[in-house]
């Protein structure tokens, strides 16, 4: 199945990005695309002009995917502001996660493996406007991430890999139900972007008219 994997850290060196890279390599049954929140601007409800290109790109990828996996770091016992910002973009004028099966994984340098951030992330993803269908199976919490990977970027502990395989298999089964029920409309993001562009154009035209009026006066 087609999966979008979002790395939730804006740092150049990210253990969560590393985790997703390993998953893409390991789970060859699935078509996994990795995107990062790095490069997504800080959300502002009063942004002007068209939506930022990286946001549209990410939303389009999410809409096309059968499912989304979010790799969540933990900053101050919660999600990173960069990931929160991304989710705000994906719940404002665009809603590509609506009805989308989402799985949470996470890595952190401490033993807890982002457990508290994942709990916050569940709260966030369950809020209206996002309407994601968060998979509630086993939790994948990769602690001590600094030493968890071998030189080839693979998770070193065989038991951890086996557990991750089990988690992904359960999630795939869960996602299959939604695929069987028929794919949702995949034009919502496109329509929303077009709608905003139309609005921006008319604002520009109004601006031009104002200028014309000013000139004729």
């Amino acid at each position: 199945m087609k999966i979008l994997a979002i790395a939730g850290s804006s740092a150049k060196k990210s253990n969560n990005f590393k985790l997703l890279t390993f998953m893409k390599k390991h789970f060859t049954d699935h078509d996994i695309t990795i995107e990062s929140v790095r490069g997504i601007p800080l959300f502002n409800e009063n942004f002007s002009g068209n939506m930022p290109a990286p946001v549209i790109e990410l939303a389009t990828e999410a809409e096309k995917a059968d499912a989304v996996i979010i790799a969540c770091p933990e900053y101050n016992h919660s999600v990173s502001s960069a990931l929160k910002s991304t989710i705000e973009w994906l719940s404002y004028e665009l809603h590509p996660l609506r009805g989308k099966p989402v799985m949470l994984v996470g890595a952190s340098t401490y033993p807890q493996g982002s457990s508290r951030a994942q709990t916050h992330l569940r709260d966030i993803l369950n809020s209206p406007g996002i309407d994601a269908i968060v998979f509630q199976g086993d939790e994948f919490l990769l602690g001590n991430a600094a030493t968890a990977f071998d030189d080839d970027g693979a998770i070193a502990a065989a038991g951890t890999v086996t557990f991750l395989e089990k988690c992904v298999a359960q999630f795939a089964e869960f996602v299959q139900h939604f695929i069987d029920e028929g794919c949702s409309d995949c034009t919502a993001v496109e329509n929303a972007v077009a709608e905003r562009q139309e609005r921006e154009k008319s604002v520009e035209k109004d601006g031009e008219k104002d200028e014309e009026r000013a000139v004729t006066k």
């Binding site: 740092a11 502002n44 101050n76 999600v79 910002s85 508290r116 993803l125």
Partner: protein, 404 residues
């Protein structure tokens, strides 16, 4: 009290901003509130070098303002059941390789359009502020949840009486909380106190050098006599902590009046000595007596400041057995021998060192005092002060010899 207040959103219009503006005006007598905008900040990044110089300056300004304040108010709206990314980003700036919020009193407030009034976001915010990297002291309880802005605000100003009353109660609680948190000794100071109860590393600086408190305490425990102090208000306030004291004292006796710590029989004599000190009529009274089977000397001195004002009476008590035995073994010449060798006369020595007549009167009076049950020795005034002079003479002789 200087506080900072952080508007928890980067939106152009925000009721949370209006709430903080209301608080700044409403509580101006209680606190000087500086409002900070998270919209001035770049998105948090661990890669600080990626920012422009102007962005780095904004981050520095923001952190400095919070650092200088005595408490922080967070006003949070709710985005997706949590705080806005812009506020989370600002908190990451304050806590990543920084301690701007550490041990800082913090208050959480919030406004929202609906009845929920950012309750879930405020709960997340409290958890975030309690995380080790933040370690803020968040005012517990005391929720400020202002919902239904259509009714609670009018013309951009908080107007609902119940909401204002609630805000006042909570802000006063925060001001008190912040004051007590900020006056707490640091944890490091506390752990020092655990290690060394009663003694800190402070110094007492005298004109002739300085002593640590522990040196001062140990000097009193080491000198070969014990010391008691009756202060200028005639209360027993201190004694030296010395093993095998002649007079056994207890901490529970501290603070007792002179009349409480002396038997009534002895009180008139004691008060006579103290009053003669207070009135400046005498400076020293001494009592030779037998205590616990050995020869003991008690000396009372008037304690005065450098201007001569009476500060209290100190009592020195010590066994003189060691000195007397050395004398008897011929350690020093007798007074007669000294007179024969052309040394100083006893009268001149005595007068020079102890200030003359009053001590004699004191001794006579004190001889009758028997407040501790020991028999007063029937001896005269010991003429000790001759000794230092004799030693001084020897030193002179030596130095003149070496000069030849």
């Amino acid at each position: 009290m200087k506080l900072t207040a952080i508007v928890g959103t980067n939106a152009d219009f925000s009721y949370n901003r209006l709430l903080l503006q209301f608080m700044r005006k409403h509580f101006w007598q209680l606190a000087d509130i500086e409002i900070l905008e998270v919209s001035q900040l770049p998105a948090f990044t661990e890669d600080f070098d990626d920012l422009t110089a102007a962005e780095q300056t904004e981050v520095w300004r923001f952190k400095t303002a919070v650092n200088k304040s005595e408490g922080v108010i967070f006003s949070a709206p709710e985005y997706d059941h949590s705080i806005p990314a812009a506020l989370k980003s600002a908190i990451e700036w304050l806590s990543y390789k920084a301690t701007c919020l550490t041990d800082t009193p913090a208050m959480v407030v919030g406004v929202a359009y609906g009845t929920q009034a950012s309750a879930r976001a405020q709960e997340h915010l409290r958890q975030i502020l309690a995380s080790p990297d933040c370690s803020a002291y968040v005012l517990p309880g005391h929720e400020v949840l202002i919902g239904n802005v259509g009714k609670t605000f009018s013309d951009g100003v908080l107007s609902d009486p119940a909401s204002i009353k609630n805000l006042e109660d909570n802000f006063v609680a925060f001001a008190e909380y912040a004051t007590s948190i900020n006056s707490m000794p640091s944890l490091q100071e506390n752990s020092e106190m655990l290690k060394k109860p009663f003694i800190s590393d402070a110094y007492i600086t005298f004109p002739t050098g300085k002593l640590t408190l522990s040196q001062a305490q140990q000097i009193f425990s080491t000198i070969p006599f014990e010391v008691d102090l009756i202060d200028a208000t005639d209360h027993f306030t201190w004694y030296s902590d010395k093993p095998n004291r002649e007079h056994v004292r207890y901490v529970s006796e501290l603070g007792e009046g002179v009349e409480e710590c002396h038997p009534p029989k002895a009180l008139p004599i004691v008060m006579k000595i103290i009053n003669s000190f207070r009135e400046g009529k005498s400076d020293m009274v001494q009592r030779p007596l037998m205590m616990h089977g050995h020869r003991t000397l008690i000396q009372y001195y008037a304690l005065r400041d450098v201007d001569g004002r009476y500060l209290g009476t100190i009592e020195f008590t010590g066994s003189v057995e060691n000195i007397l035995r050395q004398f008897e073994a011929g350690a020093w010449p007798t007074t007669e021998e000294m007179a024969e060798t052309g040394g100083v006369t006893p009268d001149a020595t005595s007068g020079a060192s102890t200030g003359g007549a009053p001590e004699g009167a004191g001794t006579a009076a004190a001889d009758n005092v028997d407040d501790h049950g020991e028999a007063a020795a029937n001896t005269g005034v010991a003429d000790g002060p001759a000794i230092p002079r004799a030693l001084a003479m020897n030193v002179d002789a030596t130095s003149s010899a070496s000069a030849h």
